[in-house]
Subunit: 401 residues, 2 copies
């Protein structure tokens, strides 16, 4: 059984084709700068190096055409009927979706309905779905939502202290994102710890370009740092995370910035990039090593804000079985993990310095064996989780959740 | 030695006259609805009931005239020279002021300079100062800043993940407020615990109409929940506290609200009032008792968000000697204190249910005697602290801080 996972952004389409019999990746690639002059297509086949093509690609229709042609040419899909389904990553599912959904007109309409909540993401996800349906109309398609895992938050955690009607009439609330990733690493952690997921409490840290942290109680998300949108919470590569809500008024009143300019500033010019001019964590470390004080500050802030969320989620969870690091930074940045865990004895958090330097992929513990709280490093694999969930949705739609 | 404490708001002036020999209040009052048709003046003298007058009061000049006349008429100040000084509460001191300042032209200019950071507060504070100087030009006047106590925050705690130039050129950073109150209760707590302030770690919760929480390490503020303005942090009577910064864009794009309308909404129509329609905590409890689900939600959110800050500040402090409740809600709301402390054993927090019902004013412990973390209830007294600090500033300007 083969499942294709699609992640359509406004100017890119990422894809992975899985053979579900052994969960191996047959091909994975990305078509980028769609609609621009210098579009490109990079992909790699199992046991082959990466191929990079300069291409002409005006829109998502052409991108998907190219993708399906590539699957045929590379012989990873010789017959369309080999494809059991397509799993689409959809950023925002609003309150409708607590689990993946087999896509039909109603599901598409609901994804469209929450566009006002996710104007930067859902339109592109929907475009990807529409094109995939157009080109592969007899393949079942499944929407897997970044928000679904967090639909178990209690009301006192998901509500903002804003006028009731903004929630009741407009759905202004915390939704949380990265749900597929948090769920995936939670399952891996449970497996590693040898306990049922439904009996463990975790704090999962997904630290990539976007970053979020989730409090998981008995396998269910009960709080998470991203909010109505992915802008809230931790400091990220170029997103500000938590700020004083009155800063907007200062920026508009004193600096005369339009709301559009502020939106760009908070999403693309803030976070690590805002503080030290760089959003790639490896580059920030190099800058800090040469004595750059703003890079030092960015690292200190990044770690500090994670520590505060860990403390907050200890208060929420009471008991924590493991702290889980994932994402490009979570998996690779030993310095950061060390500084997050520093002086956290009060929580029973202790690090094995040596194991922290080189955790074994895809899942390893970096805490001493007798530690109260296990500290795990787990390789993120959102694509695989989307494929698994799409498969489950196709096989037994009600078994999920 | 007598010291007058003045707190000038945009349409009100609050005042207290202290006899510093025994720190007693000779008179305390408030002139309200200045500039409106139904202005009023309420005041009480030591050992007398409250007097309420309907008055005519067009502006702050008339308000201060009335105030000084009242001091004379009530014979609490028979000669102007009896007044050693006036202590003004100033909300925002920017980065200039780490301690109280004897007011001169330069100090006034600096208070004016940070008006863009505190447009709702500093102009009125300045008006009060100007009028007091005009009417009492040979009385020394001292500015006591709400932000000063928090100037000890480390950079990684006070910086936002925003472009560097917003900090460097415009002072966009966390300042924190309620500093006078946090400092006052910290001193009281140290005294109660019989330890020097410079050796204790505290989490102080000022819960009134505004609400904030501060992490105090060795007597110094190292983090606090309010930010560049008093809008950030905990859920308050009518202020939203922490929200997703992208909610602004939703409100402006989808609901077509202007920035002015959003500012009013977040400051005056949110918090408890937004969630359940009521901002007085006593009324919210009554509503919840009659089964009002939104009142139940407001209480649950209010307590939950405090718990998260407590957890976060445990992560910041490592060791905590005491948790301190102050402010109208902190001092009086036993239900809230109980729910904040519920299931917080991991932090060594335990409550003595009985003592929690009726803590003895002005300072009492409500934790079991052997508890790892003392839980204290301390009566707020910002006015007295302003008077004390003004007096210290007059007597030995350099001894502060
Ligand atoms: N060895 C490393 N040390 C520190 N950071 C790393 C390392 N490798 C990758 N990263 C960081 O991971 C981040 C990207 O994470 P990733 O999860 O790939 O992003 P995305 O959220 O886009 O999926 C970048 O900031 C990158 O610098
Ligand atoms: N017995 C009580 N129980 C619960 N809340 C109380 C009680 N008494 C006063 N409060 C609350 O205290 C809040 C006002 O606190 P206060 O510190 O006086 O305000 P401010 O911040 O304006 O100085 C109000 O919400 C009020 O309902």
């Amino acid at each position: 059984m083969k499942i294709l996972v699609l992640n359509a952004g406004s100017s890119s389409v990422k894809y992975s084709l899985f053979d579900m019999s052994d969960r191996s990746v047959l091909i994975a690639g990305i078509i980028e700068r769609i609609g621009e002059d210098a579009a490109s297509h990079s992909y790699s086949l199992a046991q082959n190096g990466r191929i990079h093509d300069e291409i002409n690609c005006r829109n998502h229709q052409q991108a998907l055409q190219l993708l399906f042609e590539t699957l045929a040419v590379c012989r990873v899909l010789t017959d369309r009927h080999e494809l059991a389904g397509i799993g689409h990553r959809v950023v925002h599912g609003g309150e409708h979706f607590r689990q993946p959904a087999l896509i039909d007109a109603q599901v598409m309409q609901r994804i469209a309905e929450v566009i006002p909540l996710a104007p930067l993401h859902n339109p592109a996800n929907l475009l990807g779905i529409e094109e995939a349906i157009r080109q592969m109309d007899d393949t079942p398609q499944v929407a897997v939502f970044d928000t679904a895992f967090h639909q178990t938050l209690p009301d006192y955690a998901y509500r903002y202290a804003l006028p009731e009607h903004l929630y009741a009439d407009h759905g202004v609330r915390r939704y949380g994102f990265h749900g597929t990733s948090h769920r995936y690493v939670a399952e891996q952690a449970a497996h590693y710890l040898g306990k049922p997921l439904s009996e463990i409490n975790l704090i999962t840290l997904h630290l990539g370009n976007g970053a979020s942290v989730t409090a998981i109680q008995n396998g269910r998300s009960i709080d998470t740092s991203m909010g109505m949108t992915p802008l809230e919470g931790l400091m990220m590569g170029s997103r500000c995370g938590d700020i004083d809500p009155a800063i907007h008024f200062y920026l508009s009143r004193t600096l005369n910035l339009s709301n559009e300019a502020i939106e760009t500033l908070l999403n693309k010019e803030s976070g690590c990039k805002g503080v030290c001019g760089e959003n790639d964590m490896r580059a920030i470390h190099r800058m800090a090593e040469t004595g750059d004080d703003l890079a030092r500050l960015a690292l200190a802030m990044y770690a500090y804000r994670i520590k505060k969320y860990i403390g907050a989620y200890f208060a929420v969870l009471g008991r924590v079985d493991a702290l889980v690091f994932t994402g490009g930074i979570g998996e690779n940045d030993a310095w950061l993990r060390e500084h997050v865990c520093l002086e956290m004895q009060i929580f029973g958090i202790a690090l094995d310095q040596e194991r922290n330097q080189k955790p074994v992929r895809p899942c390893d513990s970096i805490s001493p064996a007798n530690s109260g709280v296990a500290i795990l490093v787990i390789a993120a694999n959102e694509e695989l989780e989307i494929a698994i969930q799409a498969q489950q949705c196709l096989e037994e739609p009600r078994a999920l959740n």
